[in-house]
Subunit: 264 residues, 4 copies
């Protein structure tokens, strides 16, 4: 399966700032080609690349006031080898996080999913979130958490993922967020999904059902949206002027929600 992705960002930066981009596909995915350029005021910069234990690759630049452009393109011609399961990770992803308050959602989770375990539990949680939350573009704000999503009964992909993650953790299932390129997503943009550790494997689930899971490309992995943003900035205010994302895949079947799938 050949997968081709790209993104283009235009930022307006008000003064000296540090920008950290999470747009490159994760380490471990075999790439035929890859190119990343960042310019500020028309001049090309050389970003530092930082890589975390999950293979998340962050690109960092320091810029002054002005227009910053980022262009990224990659072509993957293979699938990542699934990583082993780290015992410390297993514990880390059982813990409550900023946008996944598994502690406050524990009574709800316990009541709604009593008696379920394993894959049946995972399927039930994803279906429950799918049935209750409406996808409404622009419906949520950056400080919204799983609890807010449950109350508002609507959100975007990150909100669906947060709610799945919070419920799963509350039920003793390690769960985390992955930012991904999603061939087949419409409208096309960065996507976020949930990964859950069941029977020794990190399965990917997506309560939005908006994109086939089999061809997703991992970008970043973490506890929730706080860990997986495509842009984090420090210093002067930064405004996102334009964002274009593309992702295509050859030779993949439409998603079958009954099939267990890993991010590869």
């Amino acid at each position: 399966m050949k997968r081709t992705v790209s993104c283009h960002l235009e930022l307006s930066v008000a003064g000296p700032a540090e920008l950290v981009f999470g747009v490159a596909v994760a380490a471990g995915i075999p790439l035929a080609t890859e190119a990343l350029t960042v310019s500020s005021g028309g001049e090309y910069l050389t970003p530092d690349e930082l890589q975390d234990a999950h293979g998340t690759r962050l690109h960092r630049v320091r810029v002054d006031a002005g227009t910053v452009l980022l262009d990224y393109a990659a072509c993957a011609d293979g699938l990542a080898e699934p990583a082993g399961v780290d015992e410390i990770d297993r514990l880390r992803y059982l813990r409550q996080s900023r946008y996944c308050e598994s502690d406050r959602l524990a009574p709800t989770a316990a009541a709604e999913f009593e008696g379920l375990t394993g894959i049946a539990l995972l399927t039930a949680v994803v279906g429950w979130v799918h049935d209750r939350i409406s996808y409404v573009g622009g419906a949520s704000v950056g400080t919204d958490s799983a609890l807010d999503t449950l109350l508002a009964r609507r959100g975007v992909c990150r909100d669906f993922a947060h709610l799945c993650i919070a419920l799963l953790r509350a039920l003793g299932v390690p769960a985390r967020m992955a930012a991904v390129y999603a061939p087949g997503l419409s409208p096309m943009e960065f996507h976020a999904v949930c990964e859950a550790l069941v029977d020794g494997t990190w399965w990917v689930v997506d309560a939005t059902g908006h994109a086939p899971r089999q061809s997703l490309l991992r970008i970043a992995t973490g506890r929730d949206a706080a860990d997986t943003a495509f842009l984090t900035s420090f210093g002067a205010p930064v405004e996102l002027v334009a964002l274009d994302v593309s992702a295509t895949a050859e030779d993949f079947a439409p998603d079958d929600q009954q099939t267990l799938t890993r991010l590869r």
Copy 2:
């Protein structure tokens, strides 16, 4: 400086459960002696030891219903070599976390500490929290966050640390929580403090002012209390029946709050 610590836990476990203890001093602290025993129903168990990238050492056992006893004792006869600063860590500890909502506290932080940077900022934040929050044993509950603490104006050591951490992150200063043994603390119990990354070094600060920082021994390091609990359990309900902690140090001066100090 010789430091001697111990703890004793008695738990009542209602059924099959997995217990993860965070009570051992962190890797990297030179130890003359160390002993950890865990028994369930009078029978000794052999815990797995898991160690994370910060040197946090977790001990895990699986138990059935009954009384679980843990005894830990260690004697440190040296100081840890300070670890280098990891760039990924620097980013990680700028992010909002479950109990440190730096996103929601950003307007407060920006208004209260305008114009300050570096050590002056760190000192100002710790003093601000110290002046506003009253230490009241039992005043907070496990789901309380930095925001709750700011509103309630009272809390225990974890609450003081959460509020410092949240404000610092909101101001662009990486900050994290350390669970520690604290010689000189009264009443004696597990203690929690904030570490902030300023000028390339992780300094330890403690807005409670309850224990000298120079002789603290690190146990666990993480984003907030979700990462640094002395006990995490999965499965059947677990009740803490008894907890005794001791910590003493030879040859250390009383804390001088003006002195920058690292956890060693």
Copy 3:
């Protein structure tokens, strides 16, 4: 039906304070006998009586530091004539209030009770709350709202009433709280129930199911617990040292939850 109620309060007051008691049965209930005494430091006081538009009777005294005792007893030998429905009230009790955030619970209410109206809706809401919330004495704190109750899935009588009220208002049904004496309640204490305006009548419902509704005696009526507290104090701190409540009724049948009932 003859109904006999009493209460005894002992307070420890730390300094000059104004105390407002909401313990007397509401105006409009025919009383054979009634007696209220309040003493401070052994000396009897003469409370002011304030009566609101609903017939809630509040008794106010100003006291100095010391022990305050209140004793109240009344015997009702008839039923209140139901009041007409005030159009301003109808609007007032559709509005969100401190502990009944009908605005934030509107999406949940809309999704869970779609298509229902009138008595069927009222019955459905009460059943839904009854099924989801566990009665746990001491489980909630004074600042808990309907939203907190829904998340915690447990509470006491005021929490059950708040959640019913919030859901009903969100669905366009005026709803309010009544503090009542409740013959048959066990353990005996002050009780709180919900009144909902359906088909031109204020019906009383009780999702706890803990007391027969037919013999309840109204004390106070308002938006939520903020309006119906048995004690409100201003000034120096006040501690509740003792509270005893009694309520008995002759000649009443056990509650039949299928029967529509008014507070009389």
Copy 4:
């Protein structure tokens, strides 16, 4: 002083709905002229007028799907006689309400205003809110409360009023919200201010400082924005298509924030 006000609303109503308008000046203000018209689909309706105990005048119509237009104009040629202080009101406006969580803000209020009473306290609270909150049009949403405003450090007029009200109540000062026409406000729109009961008089304060208080005309009075909305609807969704407000006054001096003023 002659004061002239008007408003024009255009609504798009999706189906059968009940609309309640709070746009008429309150009872008690001597009017030379007044006219209110409401039309639906080009046909004039006859609204019911409901008046509450504060003189708030609400106008209610039932409409079907279509465009609803409301036009209101009034000319006041005198000042309202100040109403006496109702003891039940005094208690009512000490209570926590939906958007004024005086219970949760009590620790903040106690710490920030220790030792102040009476007019000095009132002045201090208004100045404190003025100094900390930035007026930012569109910065808040309808579910935002005083607590949210304090955290966000910004808001519109209703948010400033909510925060003043909540702090005052927490300090034992009865406080309420008034919706008003505000000659001199820029940009012109409906305005909201706080009234506080100090030394036996309801004084009007406005932490935004955006309009002279001496010429304000009261529309509605209540606990918070839940009670004083210019439009409340039940039934089908209602969209506000256009809103124009005007208010002018002859012969009034610019506001002197040092002067105690009543709403008249």
